[in-house]
Amino acid sequence: MSVQIENDPDTHAEETGIWSWITTVDHKRIALMYFATSLIFFLIAGAQAILIRIQLFRPANDFLSAEVYNEFFTMHGTSMIFLVAMPMAVAFFNFVVPLQIGARDVAFPRLNALSYWIYLLGGLYLTSSFFFGAAPDRAWTGYANLTLPQFSPGLNMDFWLIGLSIVGISSIMGGVNFITTIINMRAPGMKLMRMPLFTWMTLVTSFLLVTAVPIISVALIFLGFDRIFGAAFFDPARGGDPVFWQHLFWLFGHPEVYILILPAFGAISDIIPTFSKKPLFGYPIVVYAGILIGFIGWGVWSHHMFTVGLGPFADSFFIAATMIIAIPTGVKIFNWLGTMWGGSIRFTTAMLFSVGLLAVFTIGGLSGIMHASAPVNLQQHDTYFVVAHFHYVIVGGTMMGLWAALYYWFPKAIGRYLDETLGKWHFWTTLIGLNLTFFPMHFAGLYGMPRRIFTYPEGLGLEIWNQLSTVGAVIFGLSGLIMTWNVIQSYRKGERAPADPWGASSLEWALPSPPHHYNFPNIPTVRSREPLWDEEERREVEGVTMAPPKAEPHMPNPSYWPFLLAASITLSWALVMTGIWWVIALGMIPTATCVFMWAFEPAFPEGAEH
C-alpha cells in the first residue's frame, strides 16, 4: 500500500539536543512540545479533580478545607480549559494542518514558537501560585464583584487574571498563524472545498480564537485595573456593574465552547471516513454546519445568564438562538452516521473513540437543550446537572475527539503506533469512568446540589450520586494513567508504522512517518478531496512527496528569540502584580528589547533565496 523509502542520505537532517528544541521553529516539534506540556497539565488538573471527588465522597467531609477546595475546583476548571483542552487541540493543529494542506511549515514559524513558549511559561506562572499559597479560588469564571479586592484580598486572583492574560496572548497569535497558513499556504489545487475537515475546523476555530480571546483579555485587563490600580469597572459601590463582567466573560466564554469542540469534530470527521472506508457523507453540509456553529456561537452567550435577570425579551432571544445552534450540531451527527452507514468499519482505538464521542457527546448535547430553555435553566443553572452537562460535552466531546486524534496521528508524528491493546484499555476505562463519574451528577443536580460547594449536608439524598461519581473519577483517572503510559512506552519502543498505516485519504499520509523536517521534498498538486484514494492521483502525489527534493528546501532558521520574548512577556506581566508603576515600566524593557532583536534577526540562512 505504501511506498517505503529508506532514510535517504538526508543532508538536511534536523539537529537534536535540548538547545535545538528550545530554538526550534519546526511546527512538528512545536506540536510535540504542545502535546507533552498539555498532557502534564492534564495530569495535574486531573489529580485536583480526584481530590475534589474524595472531598465530596461523604456529606460534611473534612478532607479538604473550604479554602483548599475552592482553590482546587478553580484551578481544575481554569487549567483544563486553558492549559489542557485548548493547547492540546493546538498541538494537533500544529502537527496536522501544514501536512494536510501541503505546506512546509506554518506561515509564521517564529510566532508559532512564541505561542508555545508563552503558553508554557504562562501556564507555569499560573500553576506556581500553589507554591505561594495563593492559588486562584474564585472559580474559573472569576465573577466580579466577588473578585474585587475587598472580597478577594491576597494575590490569588491576581495570579489568575495575569496568568490567563498571558496564556490568551498565545491563543490569539496561534489563531492568526493558522488563519494565514490555511488561507495562503495550500498546495496547488487544494481548493477550500477540497480541504480535509480537520483543517476546515482548525480554520473556523482560529477565527473564533482571534475574535473571542481578545474579549476576555479586555475583561481581564479591566479586572486587573480594578484590583491593582483601584478602578471601578465592576464595583457597584462606585457605579460599576458586576453584570458587565458576565457579559464580557460569556461573550468570550460561549465561542470558547466551540473553540473546544470544533477541533474534535474536525478530527473525527477525518477519522470516521478513513475507518469506514467511505468519503465523508455530505462534506459541504458538514463544512457549512461547522461554519454556522462558529457564527451562531456568537449569539448565544446570555444562555449562561438566564438567572441574572435580563428580562423576558433577552431571555427569549437567547432561547431561540441557543435552540437554533442545536440544529447544525445534530446535522453533523447524522452525517457521521451516514458516513458509517454502508461502510466496512474497522474498530481501531481511534475509531472507538470517535464512535464513543458520537454516543456520549449526544447526551451532553441533549442536556444542553434542556437548560437552553430559560425557565428550566432557572432550576438547573449552577447545579451539578450543568456540571454533568459540560463534562459530557468537554470530556465526552473534546477529550474523546482529541484521544481519537492522538491514536490516529501518533504513528505519523513518531513513526510508531500507539499500542492498540493499551489503547483499548484506555478507551473502555475512559468510557466507563466518564459515564460513572458524570451521569450520576445529573441526579445530584436534579435533587438540588449546587455546584462549587465544598460540602453538602446529610439528608438531601445526595450521598449515593456523589459516591458513584467518586468511584467513576478514580476509574477515569486510571484511564489517564494508562494513556500516559501508552504514550511513553510507544514513543520509545512502539511498533514501527509505515507512511500510511490506516489507508487514509489526505496528503499527510503520502509522507514518510515521521515526515522530513521540511515535510514535502516537493509540493504535490491536488486534484480531488481524497487525493490518496484515487489510484492515479495517489501515484502522482507520492511520485512527488517520496522523491528526493529537487532543490534545497529553504527552511527558516532556528531562533532563541521566541523563548526569550516569551520569558520577558511573562516577566513583564508578572511584575504588574506589584502595582508599582516604575517596577512595571522597568519590566517592559526586556520585552521591548526582545521585540527589537527579533525584528532584525534574519529569518533564513544567509544568501538563501526564497
Partner: protein, 409 residues
C-alpha cells in the same frame, strides 16, 4: 453488498439484543427519574414542585425531557445498528463511495428544527408567564443576600428576620432580591427556579431607579422547604443555606403579630411592661419530617435558668460588641449589619441553616464562628471577625449569652 439480505437477517438477530438492552436502560432511567421525583427523601429536589412557578418549570422540563429522550433513542439506535451491521468482516467488498444525499440532509435538518420549535415555543411562553407579578395584593418580601446569610424584610409588616423565611400558603409572593455585598442567587428548588441576587448598583443616572431582580410564586402547600445560595459567593458559599416555612394564612399572621411583641426575656424586667403574651408555637403542617423541626426547638428547650438569662442579656446588650451588628425587638439592640435575632429561640438552625439551634451548637457558634463558617464576619472568643476584635468572653459568659438568645421565644 450482494449478500445484503442474508447479512441483514443474521445481524438483526445480534442487533436485537443491543436494542432491547438500550431501550431497557432508557426505560429504567426514565422510571427511576420519575419514581424518585416525589419522594420526600429529597428535600431540595428540583423535580418536586410546590408552587405555581415551580410547576410551570417542571411541566416544561418533563416535556423537553421526553423530546430529548426521543432524539437520544434515535441516535443511539442508529449508532448501534451501524456499529453492529457495518463492522468490517472478512471478504467485505470495498464499500460504495456515497458522498451524500440531499433528501436526507433536508430531512435531518427539518426534523430537529421542528423538535426545537416544539421546545422553544412553550419555553418562551413560560418565560413571559413567570416574570411578572401574579397579583396586586402579593406579599412583598425584600430579600438581601449577605456573605453568607439571608436577610428577609417584610416592609408592609415591618418585620425583619434571617435565614428562615415565613410565608403564607395560597397567597402570591413577590420577592425583591438585592445583595449587600457580592452576587448571590436565591434558590429554594421546591418553590421554583433560582434568581440572582445582584448588588444594587449605587450610582445611576439621576432619575434612575435601582434595579432589583424579582421572583414571583404562590406556594400551595404548607411545609418547610430547603434552599441555599446558588451563585458562588466566596469561601463559605456552600454554607449559605436557608429554610422557607410555608404556613396557613392565620398561622402566618400570628407569626407576624408575635414578631412585634418582644419576647418576655428580651429586655430587663422593668422595661418589660405589658409584653405579656401567650407563647404560641406554630401548628405543625403536613410535611412531616421538617415540620417537626419547627417544633423541635420548642419542645426540647429546657426551662431557662433566669439568672443565667439575665447575665447573658446584660453581656449581650451592654458588655460586648454584639449590639453593633445585631438587633432584638424590644431592646436597645438595633444593629443592622448581622442577622436580626428577634425570637431567636424559635429558629430551627444557627449559622444560616447549618446547625440545629440548640445550646451546644450555639455555644460553639458564639465561641468560634470561623471554625464553622470560614470567612464569617462575626468575631469569636479569641479570633477576630471582619473588622471586629475578638470578644474575649469567658466560657461562662458564652453560656450565658447562649441561654439568653435561646430564651427569646
Amino acid at each position: 453488498m450482494q449478500n445484503l439480505s442474508y447479512e441483514t437477517e443474521r445481524d438483526s438477530e445480534g442487533g436485537r439484543g443491543v436494542f432491547s438492552r438500550l431501550v431497557g436502560a432508557l426505560l429504567l432511567l426514565a422510571t427511576a427519574l420519575f419514581l424518585t421525583a416525589c419522594e420526600e427523601s429529597y428535600p431540595q429536589s428540583t423535580i418536586s414542585p410546590h408552587t405555581d412557578f415551580a410547576e410551570i418549570i417542571h411541566g416544561l422540563y418533563v416535556n423537553i425531557f421526553w423530546w430529548t429522550m426521543f432524539v437520544l433513542g434515535v441516535v443511539w439506535i442508529l449508532l448501534a445498528w451501524v456499529v453492529v451491521r457495518y463492522r468490517e468482516r472478512e471478504g467485505d467488498e470495498h464499500p460504495r463511495q456515497i458522498r451524500g444525499h440531499m433528501g436526507l440532509e433536508i430531512g435531518w435538518t427539518t426534523g430537529p428544527a421542528l423538535i426545537v420549535l416544539a421546545i422553544a415555543i412553550p419555553s418562551i411562553q413560560a418565560v413571559f408567564a413567570t416574570q411578572r407579578p401574579i397579583s396586586d395584593d402579593a406579599l412583598l418580601v425584600e430579600v438581601t443576600g449577605h456573605q453568607f446569610w439571608w436577610e428577609f424584610h417584610y416592609p408592609e409588616e415591618g418585620v425583619t428576620t434571617a435565614n428562615e423565611l415565613y410565608l403564607p400558603a395560597d397567597r402570591s409572593v413577590s420577592l425583591r432580591l438585592g445583595s449587600a455585598d457580592v452576587i448571590h442567587s436565591f434558590w429554594v428548588p421546591k418553590l421554583g427556579g433560582k434568581r440572582d441576587v445582584n448588588p444594587v448598583v449605587a450610582v445611576r443616572e439621576p432619575d434612575g431607579e435601582p434595579e432589583y431582580n424579582w421572583l414571583y410564586f404562590t406556594p400551595f402547600e404548607t411545609g418547610v422547604f430547603l434552599g441555599q445560595c446558588a451563585e458562588f459567593c466566596g469561601d463559605s458559599h456552600a454554607l449559605m443555606r436557608m429554610r422557607v416555612v410555608v404556613q396557613e394564612e392565620d398561622e402566618f399572621e400570628d407569626w407576624i403579630e408575635r414578631w412585634h411583641v418582644p419576647s418576655p426575656t428580651a429586655a430587663p424586667p422593668e422595661a418589660e411592661g405589658e409584653a405579656e403574651e401567650e407563647d404560641e408555637v406554630p401548628e405543625t403542617g403536613p410535611a412531616a419530617d421538617l415540620d417537626q423541626e419547627v417544633d423541635a426547638g420548642a419542645a426540647e428547650a429546657p426551662a431557662p435558668d433566669p439568672e443565667q438569662v439575665s447575665l447573658g442579656r446584660d453581656i449581650f446588650l451592654h458588655q460586648s460588641t454584639c449590639v453593633a451588628c445585631h438587633a432584638i425587638q424590644g431592646t436597645t439592640a438595633q444593629g443592622r449589619i448581622g442577622p436580626d435575632l428577634t425570637r431567636f429561640g424559635e429558629r430551627m438552625t444557627v449559622g444560616a441553616g447549618l446547625l440545629d439551634n440548640d445550646r451546644e451548637n450555639l455555644v460553639r457558634w458564639i465561641s468560634d464562628p470561623e471554625s464553622i463558617k470560614p470567612g464569617v464576619l462575626m468575631p469569636g472568643v479569641d479570633r477576630p471577625g471582619g473588622n471586629w476584635p475578638p470578644t474575649n468572653l469567658t466560657e461562662e459568659q458564652v453560656e450565658a449569652v447562649a441561654a439568653y438568645l435561646l430564651s427569646l421565644r
